[in-house]
Amino acid sequence: MSADTILPVLTQKDFASDQEIRWCPRCGDYSILAQMKKVLPTLGIPRENIVFVSGIGCSSRFPYYMATYGMHSIHGRAPAIATGLKVARPDLTVFVITGDGDALSIGGNHLLHALRRNVDLKIIMFNNQIYGLTKGQYSPTSPRGKKTKSSPFGSLDQPLNPLSVAIGAGATFVARSADVDVKHLTMVLERAANHKGSAFVEVYQDCNVFNSGAFEFATKKDQKHENCIYLENGKPLIYGNDRDKGIRLNGAGHPEVVSLSDVKDDDLLFHDESIDDPDHAFRLAQMRWPNSPEPMGIFRCVERPTYDGEVDRQFHDCIEQQGSGDLESLFHSGDTWEVKAK
């Protein structure tokens, strides 16, 4: 934004649509919606230049509740729709709202490809570890053994680790937060929105109807600091209600929990979100509660040319180098011949 463009100052209210919200009372989706409405006015982007694209699921109703442009599309395809939109219109700011089933099951392919291409999309995945809208089947992130309507004897599927998948696909921005961790979520959404390139954010979201309390370890006031490590760039990994524990890499290069009474800060694992090599972020993503304390925050934030930017560059380079297309000469390219009037 140039300094002399005067933008009307927008508030949360400017982003609320007139639609009645239809999520179940106390669903985690409300909080995510509220934080998003807080973040958008801070971006300095006119409301008409923001688009929310979603798939299908409870979470995917989100665009109806925003007063921006939006599309509630079909199951799993939001990243592909958003890619088409962003490539056609690189001037827009495009968010993708998706669920764990939408993004990782039916739409897994599109998610991978949007991330590897680094399309400039902000992909916010509401992970409630369940299929909410279809009333409670296990999802690709449900833990093994999970009893649901479609797995009465316990799910046999090995769950996917969403952040590992995103890092493996080459995502340039990877983060995790939780629905009711209001301040943290706002910070993460704001960082994602300001990232140039594909941002993938996993938000732990409570489905209080079909999977209640799945993320208490990360949201309960008295538990979360014991179970989670809140990542700070450039700082060592320290956690605990008393900030008395840290993470160090052992001789084999694996993270281990150490007591700060035994180990100096300097010997701990330091977080650096900007390392190009994905090893560090991947190692963090593999640390999952309850086997280990679980990192929350921004795992990775690196720069790479965006796909839509590159498409646009090539497009304009061609016009610059070859001149704007002339139909007459296109038609007459190749071998032509003339039939003369007899």
Binding site: R47, E48, Y69, M71, H72, S73, I74, G84, V339
Partner: protein, 631 residues
């Protein structure tokens, strides 16, 4: 004649006094050999020189699905048929006048299409034990005087040896030398049909400019083939096919896929809007992606998606953003696009979906032609989801129909199906280059002002044609949400209201029906009423037109009605169908148009179908016409 050609071939006897030049109206020639023998190249080059000379041409490439099938095998045979003529033609011809067979497998699989008494040119060097065995010949058919080949004018030419001799001294490996065989064959046929080889020579020089020895080798092989025809005793006659009386103007040769790509780019350029093309490679549609990806300077952005679902949904996104949005595929890919097309229908966004039909079901016959996706395009979506369907009738017609598809999509805010098929997609014909100023300019209007009370924007407020406005992101004050859930008419809000749903179903259908107001009336070739009306659609145009013309020449009362608009049909079609005693519907499927026309017009038509992955022959259509007339 090329200055480098060895002999002048003016009329009558040529300079060595022993060869006659006969004039004929039209010739069908087929080159066939191994997939690696360069037969597509030979056919394409022959077509080019004939077109540039001024003949009317029509081609039928026929290649296996395997890229490099085992050498010498029956299923690895690749062929290219071209008809060139001094009269106007509409098909690549039924029977072959001259067959060039580069090996036993090619001979075996193609001989039955050669006319009795036709010219057969074979590479006798390829008829060795191993190749004969691979082609399941127990003995060498070339040795069997009086045998199977006695009915043809056979020329056994040691092409491999002569080609090697011709390129000797250039330092080529045997393999490289043998790859020039197709140029030897071309040279020979160029002599036989008195063709000017200059365009081919120029092409070789440009194509291999980085490899001077390859240029030299191919040119030498070409010349050796030409000289062989000229000097050997085997050939006593050669032929000329004078130029055709085409409408005056500038021409170029064009395939259906090239024409689709050019038509799309033209529509976008004239509309001064960007074209967004999302596609995933599939035979026989990939060339549309290839062609469009070169045309960025015309405002074309191409996106090679991860699959066909991403391709179709990416164009939904691009259409929401205001681009002219297109995808193309073939059967299996179109099947994957169904749900995305439905989203386009309910969001009422303009999109074009090109279906280059091939043999199905499933992977089917990827490289062969069929018209069997008519039902899929007409019906193949969940819910009552009609959408416009139009079909191109020939390679050059793809140019017009691609523009027409974009026009309908934009003017009526709807996805549109454009049907072509493998036959017209890969086949080529001369295209009379249009004057740019004569082309239709599509007027794209984005809404920029609120259309409701109190500055409200109602995305589904319709005009008198029932078309909704197109407001695109970036427009202040018109922020709105689209989606796949049923919409309240006008406001576009999600609605589960039963009456509204029925109203919307009927409104969307009526909007599509209203397209009939914007398309030309159906025309009929032949008598306005009479004994028989033959109704065709799509790529069978040329064969059906030729058969009907032939029947009328024989004094029969046969008219031809070729449909380019399939949904909605032209308004006068129902009346036309009533004007004839009988109606015959030939198609390359199991009777799909027949069922639709019966359903829509209650017409008691006769169905004539062929599902062999091959186009109709004029002869088989004439025979069917006679049968129906007699019944």
């Amino acid at each position: 004649m090329s200055s480098e050609s060895p002999a002048s071939t003016t009329n009558g006897k040529s300079s060595n006094g022993s060869k006659t030049l006969e004039t004929v109206e039209s010739i069908v020639i087929r080159f066939c050999g191994d997939s690696g023998d360069g037969m597509q190249l030979a056919g394409t080059q022959f077509t080019n020189v004939s077109a540039i000379f001024g003949n009317d041409v029509s081609t039928l490439p026929d290649f296996p699905a395997e890229i490099r099938a085992p050498a010498g095998s029956l299923f690895g045979v690749s062929g290219f048929q071209v008809c060139f003529s001094s009269a106007e033609i509409f098909t690549p011809g039924d029977d072959v006048d001259t067959l060039v067979a580069m090996n036993p497998a090619a001979l075996k699989t193609n001989l039955e299409d050669l006319k009795r008494g036709g010219t057969l040119i074979v590479n006798e060097d390829a008829f060795d034990k191993s190749n004969l065995k691979k082609a399941h010949y127990e003995s060498n058919p070339l040795d069997d005087e009086g045998g199977q080949l006695a009915a043809y004018r056979i020329h056994k030419v040691p092409m491999t040896r002569l080609t090697r001799d011709a390129v000797a001294g250039l330092g080529l490996t045997v393999r490289e030398a043998d790859r020039c065989k197709n140029f030897f064959a071309m040279g020979l046929v160029y002599w036989l049909y008195d063709r000017d080889s200059t365009p081919t020579e120029d092409w070789v020089k440009e194509k291999f400019s980085k490899y001077p020895s390859i240029v030299e080798a191919n040119l030498r092989a070409l010349k050796a083939g030409y000289n062989f025809g000229f000097s050997t005793e085997q050939f006593t006659v050669h032929y000329e096919v004078p130029s055709a009386e085409l409408e005056p103007g500038h021409y170029r040769k064009i395939t259906g896929n090239e024409a689709v790509a050019m038509g799309l780019a033209t529509a976008a350029k004239l509309a001064e809007k960007e074209l967004f093309y999302g596609g995933y490679p599939i035979t026989p549609a990939s060339d549309i992606l290839h062609e469009l990806s070169k045309l960025k300077r015309f405002g074309v952005k191409t996106f090679q998606a991860e699959d066909e679902i991403a391709a179709i949904t990416s164009i939904v996104g691009a259409a929401f953003g205001g681009a002219l949005s297109v995808t193309a595929s073939s059967g299996p890919g179109i099947a994957l696009k169904s749900e995305g097309i439905g989203l386009g229908i309910i969001t009422e966004l303009p999109m074009v979906i090109v279906n280059v039909q091939r043999g199905g079901p499933s992977t089917g016959l990827p490289t062969k032609t069929e018209q069997s996706d008519l039902f899929m395009t007409y019906f193949g979506r969940n819910g009552d989801a009609p959408m416009p369907v139009i079909a191109a009738r020939s390679p050059a017609d793809c140019f017009n129909m691609a523009q027409e598809a974009v026009r309908i999509a934009v003017e009526y805010m709807t996805p549109v199906f454009l049907l072509t098929d493998g036959y017209i997609a890969n086949g080529a014909e001369p295209w009379k280059i249009p004057d740019v100023s004569d082309l239709y300019k599509i007027n794209v209007q984005y809404t920029t002002e609120p259309n409701g009370e109190g500055d409200e924007y109602l995305p589904y407020l319709r005009d008198d044609r029932l078309v909704r406005p197109w407001a695109i992101p970036g427009t202040p004050g018109l922020e709105h949400r689209l989606g796949g859930l049923e919409k309240w008419d006008g406001s576009g809000e999600v609605s589960y209201d039963p009456d509204n749903h029925e109203h919307m179903i009927r409104t969307r259908a009526q909007k599509v029906a209203n397209i009939a107001d914007s398309i030309p009336e159906q025309e009929v070739e032949g008598p306005e009423s009479g004994d028989l009306l033959v109704v065709s659609w799509g790529g069978t145009y040329g064969a059906v037109k030729s058969a009907c013309t032939e029947s009328r020449r024989q004094g029969k009362s046969v008219a031809h009605c070729h449909l380019q608009y399939i949904h909605p049909f032209p308004k006068n079609l129902g009346q036309i169908l009533k004007n004839y005693k009988k109606v015959l519907i030939p198609e390359l499927n199991a009777g799909q148009m027949w069922m639709i026309l019966r359903g829509v017009y209650l017409v008691d038509a006769v169905s004539f179908t062929k599902v062999k992955g091959k186009p109709f022959l004029i002869g088989e259509l004439c025979a069917k016409i006679d049968e129906v007339l007699a019944s």
